[in-house]
Amino acid sequence: MDFEGKTAVVTGGARGIGRGIALELAQRGSNVVIADMDGDAARDVVAEIKAGGTQSYFCETDVTQQWSTDDMVEVAIEEFGQLDVLVNNAGVGGAPGFTTRKVPTVEDWQATFDVNVFGIVNATQSVESYMVERGYGKIVNIASIAGRGGRPGFATYGASKAAAINVSQAWAYKLAPHGVNVNTVCPGLIWTPLWESIGEWRSSTDQQSSGLTPRQIFQRTVAESVPLGREQTVEDVGKAVAFLASDRARSITGQALNVDGGIRQN
């Protein structure tokens, strides 16, 4: 097993894609720290992982705060003796209430960049000296195919995800001589609470989508845009993360891999 005896931290691991990543890494032998703000959901994931036979721990974390990601890294090392894998997955689509606003406010821009970009920067800064000292580490960041090219509508989110890809490359360069790989996964269309809120946003702000449920909007988007003709799953992202975080990908760094059924080529 790729992660026998290893420890991973997954930010935003309480639900959605982060939960999928956490369960996948655990299945492959890893102990997993769930770093999230949502304690109730996180504790369910912790219990699920423990039932599967590896260790898990909830660390209440707000990735927008450097002190909090410092604490997250410290807790992981204290709890499990080492930290091998950091998955920066926490992400948002805007400030609270964004689903009702046709045009994003400055608060939406700020919240999106705070979590989706500075969240990665903070957690990476918290862990890099430890990984460099050890000469070993794997960092996988979750961006989005929205970061692969600008589109009207969700410019806040797309711009933050483009920044996430760029930031990953910067740290990949910096940490490459020290045995630390930094890569990115760009998910396509995955039915999670986040996509449900994107569906709500479309249904309340886009005339062509009004009257449709978020799930209907999601399914229409899948049908229109995915060459393989099906939605992607949290398991798909978990498996791609598991590959990039494993030693099988030892010579891969600074890359962004689309897991999107072929929506965007790279």
Binding site: Y173, A176, P227, R230, D236, A240, S251, I252, G262
Partner: protein, 258 residues
């Protein structure tokens, strides 16, 4: 089914897939080396066959597809790995000739399309299949020398993308791998060529050229290995990658990030 599976990267791919339990058909122009690799595969997974194939020859490719079915059953995975960097003597020239252009396109691009075409029916019929094409980081951006090789590898990436879109509705994924710098017989010759036509490498032997490229251009400060590439092929053909298609992934120690 692995083209160019006799030596170098192709051999490592054949052995890795065998290690995961696959039977492997090895298609190569080099019969002796192909037989040797097939014997190694048999020691691992028990099942292997070879078929002498020049991928530029359509009739030979058709024979290969038939032989694969007869010997091992229809192919689940196709790995288009056979490649060349020029026509005979390319490594000691300081410019690309028309023959270099023709030969690289014949093998790297048209050969890839030939092989893909003959295996398509086996995969579309079962509505499943995985195709992995060997491109190169040379196909990601222009280079001061070997323009014909870089252009052929850019074409491989483009061919990968088109084939991915064409075959997506049959549940067939098509991805490319762009290896960075690997010390194989091919790179030994590349080193010769660079010492010839790039002033920065004047007077160096091929290994010195290779090492100085690693030092200057690879953030991880390490060469890549055939096993690195084989591990990535194994990922793309596995169930884990069933929703990944149309992608080219650089396995290059960070040489070129995208």
């Amino acid at each position: 089914m692995v083209t160019g599976g006799a030596t170098g990267i192709g051999r490592a791919i054949a052995l890795k897939l065998a290690d995961k339990g696959a039977s492997v058909m090895i298609a190569d122009i080099n019969e002796e080396a192909a037989e040797k690799t097939a014997a190694e595969v048999r020691d691992i997974s028990g099942n292997s066959a070879t078929f002498v194939t020049d991928v530029t020859n359509v009739a030979a490719c058709e024979g290969l597809a038939q032989a694969t079915i007869e010997n091992l059953g229809s192919a689940d995975f196709l790995v288009n790995n056979a490649g060349v960097a020029g026509s005979a003597g390319w490594q000691s020239r300081s410019h690309s000739t028309e023959e270099d252009w023709k030969q690289t396109y014949q093998v790297n691009v048209i050969g890839m399309s030939n092989v893909t075409s003959v295996f398509k029916p086996q995969m579309t019929k079962r509505r499943s299949g995985r195709i992995v094409n060997l491109a190169s980081i040379a196909g990601r951006e222009g280079r001061p020398s070997l323009a014909h090789y870089s252009a052929s590898k850019a074409a491989v990436i483009s061919l990968t993308q088109s084939t991915a879109l064409e075959l997506a509705r049959f549940n067939i994924t098509v991805n490319a791998i762009c290896p960075g710098l690997l010390w194989t017989p091919m790179w030994e010759q590349v080193g010769d060529r660079y010492a010839h036509d790039n002033p920065a490498f004047k007077g160096m032997n091929p290994r010195e050229v290779f090492d100085s490229m690693i030092a200057e251009r690879i953030p991880m400060q390490k060469e890549q290995t055939p096993e690195d590439i084989a591990d990535t092929v194994a990922f793309f053909v596995s169930d884990d990658a069933k929703n990944i298609t149309g992608q080219a992934l650089n396995v290059d120690g960070g040489f070129f990030m995208r």
